[in-house]
């Protein structure tokens, strides 16, 4: 196990997961000197009755919920955050609870920035210090969550706000909030989270702490994905949600990998969801890394993906390759429910080229000149990366 000469690791989020965890929120808020939270959510969570469950969980706590702001939309804009801030001040709230996917968490984090600094202008925060004192902030992941809720990032109007302090204080993962979703809607956030975690622990600068979080996230996702998609048992759905929440922490502690950069750029250019692009690119980024980079892919990846027995049975030198093949198995195994090649998404070639070009220079050192394009090409027709060792 190689330890880098210098690394930093920080996870501000406390994970509270499992049965009746929502009922802890009143106690937790009081232990952080807060009594009146503002709930930030979107219409879908309200319609599914998630807000009602939280209100019931508040029963007998004697506390008051400042207000339930359900104006968050898929694209979070500054206007929504300013409305929420006005509501926050009007009700005299002192803490924030976000229920829902990525966009609710982003709006909540930006709101936290605004109300803690008592300002109306989000744009002044271009570089954020790491020691701001923000209001207590609790995130409640739902089935729409894809990991970025528990990360250090918030994206408002396409602008990125990043700071360690933006991570939520507590992530409450309660099975009652994980409503059943269609097969594709269950698979995509999970595969995206796995892509983030796999990328974090196969980076050159991987450190043992982030690795242990990444392994936990990958193992939870791989073990529970099949069960969650077919049967959808409470345990498997809860396991998946935990895996996804942990991947947000892992992503915040790792440098951005080429896979997530390509997925982000591709999603912006083609209108496909980030989750889908990340899922399709994951195996091919790994395959390229296995064959065409000095460091190749470390053997330890096979352990969380395929489980301890397959790991120990594999020969030392084979583990890197088997790890990548196991990832292929998992992602390609989902082709009944989601498209697994860029070809199925009909992405024109010139968009592949311009995406590769946009991402190329920041990763050229590690992945070589044509690296990004080779990844996209092999992801296009779904074959293994040509050239390299095997």
């Amino acid at each position: 196990m190689q330890i880098p000469d210098y690394f930093k690791f920080f996870n501000k989020t406390r994970i509270v997961s499992g049965k009746k965890s929502l009922e802890n929120i009143p106690y937790e808020l009081q232990s952080m000197d807060a009594v009146k939270p503002l709930v930030i959510t979107d219409k879908r969570s309200v319609d599914e009755g998630l807000v009602k469950i939280l209100i019931d969980a508040y029963g007998d706590s004697g506390l008051v919920i400042g207000a339930v702001f359900d104006g968050v939309t898929a694209y979070t804009s500054a206007k929504t955050v300013l409305d929420a801030a006005r509501l926050f001040r009007a009700r005299g709230c002192d803490s924030i609870i976000s229920i829902g996917g990525e966009s609710c968490a982003f709006a909540a984090k930006a709101l936290n920035l605004l109300v803690s600094h008592k300002t109306e202008d989000l744009l002044q925060f271009d570089s954020l210090p790491d020691n701001m004192h923000l209001c207590p902030f609790i995130v409640i992941p739902t089935s729409d969550s894809s990991g970025r809720e528990t990360s250090t990032r918030s994206v408002i109007d396409g602008r990125i706000y990043e700071s360690d302090e933006l991570m939520p204080d507590i992530a409450v993962i309660d099975p009652r909030m994980l409503k059943k979703r269609g097969k594709a809607e269950t698979i995509l956030p999970a595969l995206r989270a796995m892509a983030e975690a796999v990328e974090a622990c196969t980076e050159d600068a991987a450190n043992p702490m982030n690795d242990s979080f990444a392994f936990a996230s990958i193992q939870l996702i791989c073990e529970n994905l099949a069960a969650a998609v077919n049967g959808g048992s409470v345990k498997s759905v809860l396991g998946l949600a935990n895996g996804i929440a942990i991947s947000g922490i892992v992503w915040s502690n790792a440098p951005e990998g080429i896979g997530s950069a390509l997925a982000e750029e591709l999603a912006v250019r083609t209108g496909n969801s980030r989750e889908l692009c990340a899922a399709v690119l994951l195996p091919h980024t790994l395959d390229y890394k296995l064959k065409n980079t000095k460091k190749s892919v470390r053997g330890e990846l096979l352990l969380p993906v395929a489980g301890i027995d397959r790991y120990c049975a594999a020969a030392e030198t084979e583990r890197g390759l088997l790890g990548v093949e196991a990832v292929f198995e998992i992602v390609k195994g989902m082709n009944k429910y989601i498209p697994v090649t860029l070809k199925e998404l009909n992405i024109p070639r010139y968009i592949l080229e311009s995406t590769a070009e946009a991402v190329e220079d920041s990763f050229a050192k590690q992945y070589g000149k044509g690296g990004a394009l080779m990844i996209l090409e092999s992801a296009y027709n779904g074959e293994r990366v040509s050239g390299g060792k095997k």
């Binding site: 804009s77 009909n346 010139y350």
Partner: protein, 623 residues
């Protein structure tokens, strides 16, 4: 003067790389299935072009087809169609234009023109009955559209030309022919990327005679009577042009105000057709030949200028909260000379104004003030300063600077000047239009707001209404005649003219799919079969429309389009117009599911095998 009876069916295939051309005979099968105009042009590209090519690359092609009716003197038949892959949206875009080039090309003995490849030096084409000459256009390069046309029209009946915007590859550059344009989707940029400055045609070498002269005369007379009898085509459009819509939209809450936040505005009357007609003492300046006569020109502070169309007045006027017609006319002139689509330019500048207001974008543009807009338009045309970004359209800018929720566009094409929240059917039409947010794919607001035949705020039977209108519009564009003929030809027929309104309303609201079948659309096919000779029934005519629509969807799906793109910007789904106190939201998902079912698409918006086969579209691309 030789004669052509019916059509010559001869298409010029021009290869700019090799500077060569060849003649392509349109097979009878395609003529029967796609009629001509937009339909045939699309089919020709479908056969020749691979999906996934770069719109500004060498392999993109432009297909122009004059259609059957052009040159026969049929009412409002002075238009031709052009199709290419749009650099702005990355999918197919088809436009129609009433400029003189169409007549010139048809009377030079050609039915259409396909331009391929890329010339390494600026060039312009000269077409006559013998073929094509490749003439050097170095000295034309840099001229505006009107000057270019003057230069090369010494020996030609009509010309197509691009302005500086096209040369600098502004993604929404258009192509001018006289004062009319192939407007939307950036066809000018495609010509610019091929270093093709203009195409001119000698014209007046052939006379077009219909096969069945007697039947043609009868149909032509009936059509002219309908047009002159209908109060829209003969009344509002003839006197006040398309700007007659301003007061109607203002009343119906459809007018785009301040980047689609408001639906009406007190000062809207200042830019209405009625006031402009009287203020500028307008006279006709239309496509030739035309019976409706909706194009106008007027004396705008000393200069005889084309009166801006409604879309320009809406998007560069009320959408920017500018209500001074002279200023709007200035913007229109710059866009005409530079060769830019006023709808996209207006939509992008409106985004820029709101983004500046919110601090996301640096510019000195402000709602309500016209200063700075002219300079910005010129900067866009020459890719200077902020123009460099704004030249890419509001989707690109909003992805780069943020503010995607108020970039009012669908699939990259900026929205026309009708706010869909005032007519839910129009919302569905914008979402599913093959070109992007275009109002000419299906004018649902006409039925919902102008004629009031359908409840504007309900989703019921809007899907089948939109599908029907899309089919009829595509069919009309494949004859190639003006879409404004929809009002006279449909409303003046016996059944529609004399049946009581409440019955019509009841039928349209509840059983639009069934009611539509009773509408008498026989006039168009009558004209067409009179000219060509072989029969074309009403249902066959509508099936051509459906075939063209589904073919265009198949080609778009091969570029990656699916349900995720059939949507509306966040503002139109989640925010409400200031004038709408009841805060009614567009039920897009419901209408979309119904539309896919009616259209024969699967849940993800991809045309099903069965649909493609039943419409006899040759399977060529893996979709």
């Amino acid at each position: 003067m030789q004669e052509i009876t019916g059509t010559s069916n001869r298409i010029l295939e021009v290869n700019l790389t090799k500077k060569s051309f060849s003649v392509y005979e349109v097979p009878k099968e395609d003529l029967k299935l796609y009629l001509g105009g937009k339909g045939l042009a699309l089919k020709m590209l479908y056969d020749r072009m691979e999906p996934g090519i770069d719109p500004l690359g060498e392999d993109n092609m432009i297909a122009i087809h004059t259609g059957v009716l052009l040159g026969t003197g049929a009412p409002c038949s002075g238009r031709f169609a052009a199709v290419t892959k749009s650099p702005l949206t990355g999918i197919m875009t088809s436009c129609s234009c009433g400029g003189a080039f169409g007549m010139a090309l048809k009377t030079s003995g050609w039915d259409g023109l396909i331009v391929k490849g890329k010339s390494n030096t600026p060039v312009y084409l000269y077409v006559d009955s013998k073929g094509v000459e490749f003439r050097d256009a170095k000295k034309l390069w840099g001229m505006d559209t009107q000057k270019t046309q003057e230069e090369i029209s010494k020996d030609s009946g009509g010309a197509l030309a691009i302005g500086p915007a096209g040369e600098n590859l502004v993604l929404y550059a258009n192509v001018a022919s006289g004062h009319r344009f192939l407007g939307r989707g950036g066809m000018g940029a495609v010509m610019g990327s091929k270093n093709l400055k203009a195409i001119s045609a000698k014209g007046k070498e052939f006379k077009i005679l219909p096969v069945n002269q007697k039947k043609f005369e009868k149909a032509k007379k009936k059509a002219t009577d309908y047009i002159n009898g209908n109060d829209i085509s003969a009344g509002s459009y003839r006197n006040f042009g398309t700007n007659a819509n301003v007061n109607l939209n203002n009343a119906g809450g459809l007018l785009p105000v301040r980047n689609f936040t408001g639906g009406t505005h007190g000062e809207a009357h200042k830019i209405s057709g009625e006031e402009m007609a009287e203020k500028f003492k307008t006279s006709y300046s239309t496509c030739k030949p035309c019976t409706i006569l909706c194009g106008h020109k007027g004396n705008i502070n000393g200069q005889m200028r084309q009166i801006p169309e409604y879309e320009t007045v809406g998007l560069m006027g009320s959408n920017l909260e500018i209500f001074d017609p002279v200023k709007i006319s200035d913007f229109n002139e710059i866009c005409t000379l530079m060769g830019m689509d006023t709808i996209t330019a207006g939509g992008t500048i409106a985004w820029a104004m709101e983004a500046t207001e919110r601090g996301l974008f640096k510019s000195d543009l402000k709602f309500g003030s016209a200063d700075g807009v002219c300079e910005v338009l010129k900067d866009i045309a020459h890719m200077k300063g902020i123009g460099k970004d704004l030249a890419m359209g509001s989707r690109y800018c909003s992805k780069k600077y943020g503010g995607e929720d108020f970039a009012i566009q669908v699939k990259g094409l900026e929205m026309a000047a009708y706010d869909p929240r005032g007519a839910f059917g129009q919302g569905l039409s914008y979402a599913v239009a093959n070109r992007g947010a275009c109002h000419l794919s299906a004018t649902a607001f006409g039925l919902e707001v102008y004629l009031g035949l359908m409840d504007a705020y309900s989703y019921r039977s809007k899907a089948s209404m939109v599908k029907y209108q899309e089919d009829i519009y595509s069919a009309i564009n494949s004859l190639q005649t003006c879409v404004f003929t929809v009002f006279p030809y449909e409303l003046e027929t016996l059944l529609m003219k004399y049946s009581p309104r409440p019955v019509l309303k009841f039928m349209m609201n509840l059983m639009a799919g069934v009611a539509m079948r009773f509408v008498d659309v026989s006039l168009w096919p009558e004209l067409w079969s009179a000219v060509i000779g072989n029969r074309l029934g009403m249902t066959a005519f509508l099936r051509v429309g459906a075939r063209v629509q589904v073919l265009e969807r198949v080609m778009n799906c091969a570029e990656g389009i699916s349900r995720k793109d059939d949507t509306l910007p966040d503002r139109l789904l989640n925010e409400f117009r200031k004038c709408d106190s009841k805060e009614r939201a567009i039920p897009l998902e419901k209408m979309l599911n119904r539309y896919y079912f009616v259209r024969g698409f699967d849940k993800n918006g991809i045309p099903k095998e069965r649909t493609v086969r039943r419409l006899k579209i040759k399977k060529r691309m893996a979709v």
